[in-house]
Amino acid sequence: MRSPSGPEIAAGEVLLSVEDVSLAFGGVKAVSGISFDIRKGEIRAIIGPNGAGKTSMLNIINGFYHPQQGRITFKGETRSKMRPHDAARGGIARTFQNVALFRGMTALDNIMAGRTLKMKRNLFWQVLRVGPALAEEVENRHKVEEIIDFLKIQDIRRVPVARLPYGLQKRVELGRALAMEPELLLLDEPMAGMNLEEKEDMSRFVLDVNDHFGTTVALIEHDMGVVMDLSDRVVVLDHGIKIADGTPDEVKTNQAVIDAYLGVAH
């Protein structure tokens, strides 16, 4: 539990909020009328049973899906929908439930790809790789090396990611997201399919990212132990509806949450 920072967070300013957001695919309502906010510097978890609309929610936040209704306010700017490039420029980075890396490229190149938005020189200069383009490359490479050091993946720098075990691929993906130096980091099931040791490592990294870079984190996770340990506040979705929102302790004892997870006798 991260009690020391708790009171501070509660007073913190809101980085992103969604208000009354609804999204439907044909007749299927993925999310309906959801409102919650993410405060600067906190670790915010979105949980819920399968099909609760968690990934849809992340996709709405980073502009991949466009909600039919509702408003999204990010860094004080309100709009009816995000667009992926607005999200990326605005400082939102994410990882995916199924690893989405350039499989034939090395870990280093994958993370370098995360720096694309920070590269100012156009293709012409970058191909030539001289003068200002070279200086820019060196500067960005330095940042990437800091991330490699941070994630302790020095030994796989030159290994094509397709050859890496799943746990390490997840770490490289996190590295690519971090390379954007995001203000808000969205993690879609960062621990899925990992063993206990890998989960512990990943939890450590998420906490360190939050602590070291001051990055705000929103994550979807199924492992309740991880969620309760990591997050400052938890929002619980079920069938596209928000059923609870609060600190891990509050959520844990909430009857609606217990019913959603364990089922109720009919």
Partner: protein
Amino acid sequence: MASSAAARADTFPKLLVRNARLHGARPSMRHKDLGIWQTWTWSEVLEIVRAYSVGLSRLGLKRGETIAIVGANRPKLYWSVMAAQALGAIPVPVYADAVADELAYVIAHAEVRFAAVEDQEQVDKILSVAERLPKLEWLVYDETRGLRDYDHTRLKSMDEVIADGRKAIAADSKVGAWIDGEIEAGKGSDPSIILYTSGTTGTSKGVVLTGERSIAAATDTVAFDGLTETDVALAYLPIAWVGDHYLNYAQGLVAGFCTACPESADTVMTDLREIGPTFYFAPPRTLETLLTRVMIRMEDASLLKRKLFHYFIGVARRYGERILNGESVPLSGRLLYALGNVLVYGPLKNVLGFSRVRVAYTAGEAIGPDLFAFYRSIGLNLKQLYGQTEAFLYVTAQPNGAIYSDTVGPACPNVDIRIADNGEVLFRSPGMFSGYFKDAAKTAETMTADGYVMTGDAGYFDEKTGHLKIIDRAKDVGRLNDGTLFPPKYIENKLKFFPNIREAVAYGDGRDFVAVMINIDLTAVGSWAERHNVIYASYQELAGHPLVYDMIEKNVAEVNRRLAADKVTAGAQIRRFLILHKELDADDGELTRTQKVRRGFIADRYDALIKALYDGSKEADISTEVTFEDGRKGTISARVKIRDMQVEPALGQAA
């Protein structure tokens, strides 16, 4: 005056001052950070160490006090050792992978007030046992990550300590003069370091070594191997181990050569290749892992490459060692070998990072003759040495040109060796320890009346070569009930020379026959299983597989044949064996931190299996507690099968 003192530098800080004067612009330390090799010259290191020791003294560290050093091979930890010694304080390195309990024991026993540690992991570990360490006052750390929010009343980063010392020196010239005076005031007869033994035999003991003896020993071996300030070594073995302190720290300071620290423990292979050391040390286990990895990769290579590789390795086996030893070799052999060097050995050595190695040593355990011959045949000047912490490493070492796989060489320069009546090896050496820390009784037990140290190892001088041969721990050599000699380690090593067998534990002392417990090597057996469509879900399942048993049975039969070839050992053939369901692990106390088997402990832990080995049962149930890396505990239970072996007729009798 100053020059004459420096010429006979009798402490390591004085050597540092000398090196900064003689080789000021030459590299002293390298470390790969953020993907780039950073270099510090001897004069830069001196400046840092002076500032660091002033900073430590301002925190309260005083002459004669102890400071624990915990972490991986990193420049700042080596400088912590130097800075402490500059003040006359005594560094006490502790194994970085020690669990909190072991760490607490050493820190408490050494009465440590200061600890210099690598990172958050080590800080956490020490804080978790803080209530057992009332004397501990200050923790200084290298890696700041994750430590920002910690309570800093007793915690400081090394950078801050160094910066604080630097400021003090800049502000007042007297401070600089004071620290130089402190370095001058250090006496060679003062304790220089306390190295805790790995505890092969019970709890670890603190071996106290003095500066002048350490330097005397290192000076001899630096001359023996012709090391100079142009050499380079990669420091990748535990700082707390005598080998690292001797080979890299002591020899580095005496010869003035450059010590490189790897980027992380996982990148050692790559770093080795990039640095291209000229002086290299590896325990037999590491050499074996390397060879296994090469062989597995060769199996996956194309047919042409495989043929080429095996043909030229054959050529190397025939001529390589003889060329290295300077013996006569037919011209055709030399030409073939030269071609092989271009096509196979050169590239292979390059991949392994051995291209520039002039002198390589291995020690710690017996090395398999095939393994040893392989590296020598491809042109790596690999030699064996025998030593122990109490001797400050070297007792014997093989000189260039007189190398045998089953001896450890003649006594090093200025070392006296004597074999006691019970076969135990005794020595007196320039680097020998001055005593165990706070344990005069143990010290007296280890020394003979005339000042020799008892090694506890049984051995004899080979008649043909005059080199020392070590067979086993003196107290481990036992006898079967019929009086046959039983050297357990000798048998275990013969088994371990097979790539499929990672570890073996032999029993027989006071029993009717010899029986062994075997650990399979997951890499080798796993690769074999893949090729033979053997399906398994866990180590336990693979270890219990009947086909694996068949394979190991062949290996055991081969060992029996070799044992039968010698009259002395023919009676100690293996009658029964089993394959253990879990890997022996240092975290469970089954191995020492240097990966040696603790036979007594294993005997207690697997009592049920040993009973079954001797009562004729075909299988046995066992349930053992295991410790995970994070300190939590769990249990593993299994049903282990036992196999009977045929005994070969002794050659002596058959003839």
